[in-house]
Assembly symmetry: C2
Homo-oligomer: 461 residues x 2
């Protein structure tokens, strides 16, 4: 019998996890796998770029989980620097272009995986393309930024955007010895948190010597006669800059899918079923998609969201590879967990913010408590703030946000599991969480928040 052909568009986490898992289940005699990647690298940790730029990771290659050669050695026909420029779902084929030679060709597929990732938001501003202005989405971006830092080791850096990429890049530039200013559209950093929790991040960043500018809209990147960046200009002010990093966020990269007529969601991402197969008749039931180019189902709100995160991309790839390879696996959805770090500050969230709950029509109570990561008497005990949202009447947990020091962020996992299980805050108060003085006060901060949330639920009735 002739082997089926699987075509994979995109050589990073989702695409290559899918290819690898399919290969584990099906031999080359059964399934030919062709993967296209337009860049220079495969299977790398984009999430690690801030730590490479910041100097905690020495070598770019440490971020690469598996090289093109390793993939090829496992029987995947990987075509680097080759961009898929057209997807023809009717004829089940893709047109690709060799970015070195310019040569083009069509490749038919029996099964297709779309893993085209995301593209950074890049506002149309005067000077946005000036030398010294950098995105940090790909390894190539990271290399370019490092080249700038090494060639002209200035003193002042401006980060545009105070989401998780922005705050991680702020830390990286602090570590490189820069005076760092973060310019943010919203009043508080980390818009993935409620503003009262974002305020804590703001205060902590200020305490670390980072200048946080909120409610600021960038109108121009000012350049010098040499074409290099000189300053970031907002409506109200101008911030001198030797280097500028854009951390404004990303959008699903679905240009090919859109042109092919595949249905996209409200956030511009591909829509799939729980097996990660693209919905709708256009895809013919033989197209899967995963990673930063898809929308995911939010188990708490019951809506689709776009979340660009390596851990989801890897799970998607695993699920896709299992299903393409003849097995069965599902990705039931997310609860919206995210953790990040800026210097010594740990930031975490899961579930719904107040505005998410409002938007979903949920009535809720909130409870915010201050506690510590360890028993108060144990050395290194540091403060931690936990905010919890619970549904009125039912007491169902809706979300948790945490800002603190060492040991704060991963505590959010308790809430992530509780959300997945649909627990009430009352049930959470009895959770048997690990206790010993080096690890927790006798009441874990999450339990303290749950107790306060129970009282709030009872008080509102």
């Amino acid at each position: 019998m002739n082997a089926e052909r699987l075509v994979v568009i995109g050589g990073d986490a989702a695409g290559m996890s899918a290819a690898s898992q399919a290969r584990r289940l099906r031999s080359p005699d059964e399934l030919e796998i062709v993967a296209f990647e337009r860049g220079h690298f495969t299977s790398y940790s984009a999430c690690g770029i801030p730590y490479w730029v910041g100097g905690q990771v020495d070598e770019r290659d440490e971020l690469i989980a598996r090289s093109p050669e390793e993939h090829r050695a496992r029987g995947i026909d990987l075509r680097m620097r080759t961009e898929v420029v057209e997807l023809d779902v009717r004829e089940r084929r893709v047109r690709s272009r060799d970015l070195e030679s310019g040569a083009e060709s069509w490749t038919p597929y029996d099964k297709l995986v779309i893993a085209t990732g995301a593209r950074p938001v890049r506002p149309e501003l005067p000077g946005i393309d000036a030398a010294g202005v950098h995105g940090v989405q790909t390894l190539d971006d990271g290399q370019a930024l490092l080249d700038t830092l090494r060639a002209a080791p200035g003193r002042r850096a401006v980060v545009v955007g105070a989401g998780y990429i922005g705050v991680e890049m702020a830390e990286a530039l602090v570590n490189r010895g820069y005076e760092v200013t973060v310019v943010n559209r919203g009043a508080e950093p980390m818009s993935t948190l409620d503003p009262d929790m974002g305020r804590l991040v703001h205060e902590a960043m200020t305490g670390m010597g980072i200048t946080m500018v909120g409610d600021a809209e960038v109108t121009e990147i000012r350049t010098g006669d040499d074409g290099r960046v000189r300053a970031v200009v907002t409506r109200d002010a101008e911030f001198p800059a030797d280097v500028v990093v854009l951390g404004i966020g990303v959008r699903p990269e679905t240009t090919l899918a859109r042109a092919a007529g595949l249905p996209l969601g409200d956030h511009g991402g591909l829509l799939t079923d729980v097996a990660m197969r693209v919905r709708g008749p256009e895809a013919g039931g033989v197209v899967w998609a995963g990673g930063d180019c898809v929308e995911v189902f939010d188990l708490v709100s019951g809506r689709e969201r776009h979340i660009a995160l390596g851990t989801h991309a890897n799970k998607h790839g695993q699920v896709i590879g299992s299903n393409v390879g003849g097995g069965y696996a599902t990705f039931p959805g997310v609860v919206g967990t995210a953790v990040s770090k800026v210097c010594e500050l740990e930031i975490a969230r899961t579930g719904l913010r107040e505005k998410d709950a409002d938007r979903a029509g949920l009535r809720y109570v909130t409870a915010t408590v201050e506690s510590t990561n360890r028993a108060g008497y144990y050395p290194g005990a540091a403060p931690m703030t936990v905010k919890m949202l619970a549904e009125r009447r039912t007491g169902r947990l809706l979300g948790v946000q945490i800002v603190g020091r060492e040991g704060a962020a991963k505590r959010v996992d308790v809430a992530a599991v509780a959300l997945t299980a649909g627990m009430t805050v009352e049930r959470m108060t009895a959770l048997d969480l690990g206790y010993a003085p080096p690890f927790s006060p006798v009441w874990d901060p999450v339990l303290v928040a749950a107790r306060k949330a129970v009282a709030a639920v009872r008080a509102t009735g």
Copy 2:
């Protein structure tokens, strides 16, 4: 109307939490509260004693959450150094003795809380009462040990028992500059883990310079002419010792309850319903019990267990105080979570070990994986071993054990919540746990273990 009288026996975590919570709900006009404590202290963290002995905590009083004076200021009639010597459940009264004066008196109760704690196992061995041999159950014990260490700062310490108190005391004595030998009855330390995981603790302790002696039965404490300890003698060997610490474990202190005819469980602890009220007609429905003197329901095995742990005692007290005060709260049970630390090593467990599952008649698979606490490329990434037990066929999670470095222990909380929710390991593979390079590899170690457990469940059918 005359106030009801609540009598509380025992002034530590469970008893005083119950008294405090009842006081919050009921004024002194409505409820008189009389509490008896035979020792010198109230509401202290016995779990903190190893860190006080080890020098990380400077002052004894840092371990005291609330002093007798503070309790009295809140309207609790607290009688220190007063031991309850008889409980008369028919007449609803207790006989107490002032340990200073020897005076005795009867106190009637309308409601009673028994929070008599646990007593350390103290084997009947020659020399067990010699100077230099110490338990570490109470603040008084801790003070006596510190006095020994300061008065005769020897070089060699022997810890008898390698459970969590034993390993924590080993760390404390290492911190004090002692050469530490831990003598254990079982082959491996931490019998709360399976032996294969205990083996990892053994190896790590050896690497820290602690001598671990397994399969060793202590037959004698050898003393010198001055009556001070000189050595710990086992069947096979003799270990010179300037100081000996007993960390053999504890039993429920239920002498009073037994004499009063209250029913006790297989482990010698009081038995309660979910509201923490003592079962059976003898108690007349007006007796509650909590903390180290009760047995708790294990949600995973469906059996009663005895677990002496401050976090449970505090929860019990909270629940008892709510119910005694006219509210409603329950303690549904435990899943058996415990975390501990010896030097840089973190140790955690929840749910069932292999032998617990065998005993309960459960068929299971195991999966053990090695991973890291952070992304492999992030500074400080350190190894972590996760072992997972899942039920055959159903794939229900049964237990998790973790041994690793920083960030390892509290990961067990994810499994504790999953056990509480009755999750399968397959469902766990999709958990949306926090990911960023400083906190986790892209697949959290718990997820990696769950994936391997899923494969094991499928393979066995």
